[in-house]
């Protein structure tokens, strides 16, 4: 079966400088892969590359069957992935519900799916009517997660998803990730919350200096390949 993410010697540039220096990575459908590495290793850049937001300068990069070197295909893949990054993409002046409704409807979500996403993230009821500018960092993160959930992406790209969340929020996130994978989604995440993230991931990939330095082949079905 074709991997959901297939990178071979993938290089992307930030300005004129290479931000990834030849990444090799395969992620199979239904996997949860943790990217582990120090600050500046290229984890965020790798996730943005997989989201089709950065150009492929050299090498091969295929996500959900789309060749990211082709600009048109890179744009097409975006509607099938969900990126939860450092920036939330939320509109401060709108309410929680307005934001989730807008991003959900942009991806074709029905009103019931939007309501379901709000409820799943614990944002139904009074919280849904709060203006985003008045939310705490954790509530913003939950709202961002609800937006992602409403879009029903096939590939979840989570950049430090636990940051800003309290213990309950982190448990909720992990639960949502496991449920998404059970429903057929694939997840690539980076996190410095290693104990928690390693408990969630099927496999860990080390990344440093813009390249992977650990085995990247997908484990066989049912196998858990945690690389310390």
């Amino acid at each position: 079966m074709e991997p959901v993410v297939h990178l071979r010697g993938a290089v992307t540039l930030l300005g004129r400088f290479p931000a990834l220096a030849g990444i090799d990575l395969d992620v199979s459908a239904g996997e949860i892969v943790l990217l582990r590495g120090p600050n500046g290793a290229g984890k965020t850049t790798l996730l943005r590359l997989c989201a089709g937001l950065l150009p492929v300068a050299r090498g091969t990069a295929t996500v959900l069957g789309h060749d990211l070197a082709d600009r048109r295909q890179a744009r097409s893949v975006r509607s099938r992935v969900g990126l939860l990054g450092h920036a939330t993409g939320l509109y401060d002046e709108l309410t929680v519900a307005d934001n989730v409704r807008f991003w959900g409807r942009a991806a074709g979500a029905a009103p019931a799916e939007v309501a379901g996403a709000l409820a799943a993230c614990g944002l139904d009821g009074r919280l849904s009517d709060l203006i985003v500018a008045r939310l705490s960092a954790g509530q913003r993160r939950r709202t961002s997660l609800a937006c992602l959930l409403a879009r029903r992406p096939e590939l979840w790209l989570l950049d430090e998803p636990h940051a800003g969340l309290d213990h309950e929020g982190r448990d909720l996130l992990d639960d949502l990730v496991r449920r998404a994978v059970a429903d057929g989604a694939t997840v690539v995440l980076s996190s410095h919350e290693l104990d928690r993230a390693e408990g969630l991931a099927h496999r860990v990939v080390h990344i440093a200096g813009g390249t992977t330095d650990a085995p990247t082949a997908a484990p066989t079905s049912g196998e858990v390949a945690l690389v310390p």
């Binding site: 989201a51 089709g52 937001l53 600009r71 744009r75 975006r78 509607s79 992935v81 969900g82 990126l83 990054g85 450092h86 920036a87 939330t88 993409g89 939320l90 509109y91 401060d92 002046e93 709108l94 307005d98 807008f102 991003w103 409807r105 942009a106 991806a107 074709g108 203006i131 879009r151």
Partner: protein
């Protein structure tokens, strides 16, 4: 495309309704511009009356710059631009939606300014159909061209200062055409104004077509 346009326009207008920037900042600014022109030219009331069409559209142009800046500032905050690129929304729909939201805000400001011009400058409307058609065409042109140049400047650090430099020369045909058409509608011969209105319609259609085609590329590259 039109579904996405309606979604984006609805979102932008809801943000304006909540933040009230148009009502509390742009409308007072527009009236202030009219008052300042009035104070500067009041000693010669005749000049003020004759220049009312041009002064009206200069004030609209200033307001348009603010509205366009605002439309892209809300997308620049907290990764909104990347979120838009990832949203799956048709870029042509995003362009039309943002242009429509800007046009609605400008139309509201034009009503305020029109009342101001009638009260402060003593202008009299003799050609209502021409006046309304000019407003519609000029507003559409301003919003379409402004949205296109707005996204072009939005990715740059110096966008606040660069946008007026890029946009004002581009909008000069709107200023000239709308002023000439308004002069005809405000006490002149209406027939003289319709060719200018035609120019405005052509300008608006050109920028709507160009923006629909080019917005996606500009959103990616700028």
């Amino acid at each position: 495309m039109f579904h996405d346009a309606a979604l984006v326009a609805g979102k932008d207008l809801r943000i304006e309704l909540r933040s009230k920037v148009t009502l509390q900042q742009m409308a007072p600014f527009a009236v202030l511009v009219l008052i300042l022109f009035g104070v500067a030219l009041d000693p010669d009331r005749g000049v003020l009356g004759r220049a009312s069409a041009g002064l009206f559209w200069v004030a609209v142009l200033f307001c348009a710059l603010l509205a366009i800046q605002r439309a892209f500032t809300i997308e620049a905050a907290d990764g909104g631009r990347d979120a838009l690129r990832l949203s799956g929304l048709d870029p042509a729909g995003v362009f039309l939606g943002k242009a429509a939201a800007i046009a609605v805000q400008l139309a509201a400001l034009e009503v305020v300014l029109a009342v101001g011009v009638v009260i402060m400058y003593g202008a009299e409307v003799t050609g209502w159909p021409l006046l309304v058609a000019t407003c519609l065409a000029a507003t559409t042109g301003l919003a379409a061209a402004g949205t296109l140049y707005g996204v072009l400047a939005a990715g740059l650090r110096v966008r606040e200062t660069l946008l007026p430099i890029l946009l004002l020369p581009v909008l000069s045909p709107v200023l000239i055409g709308a002023t000439k058409a308004f002069e005809a509608a405000l006490g002149g011969v209406a027939a003289d104004g319709w060719p200018w209105c035609g120019l405005l319609v052509t300008f608006a259609l050109l920028y709507l077509a160009f923006g629909t085609l080019a917005f996606g590329t500009l959103l990616e590259e700028s």
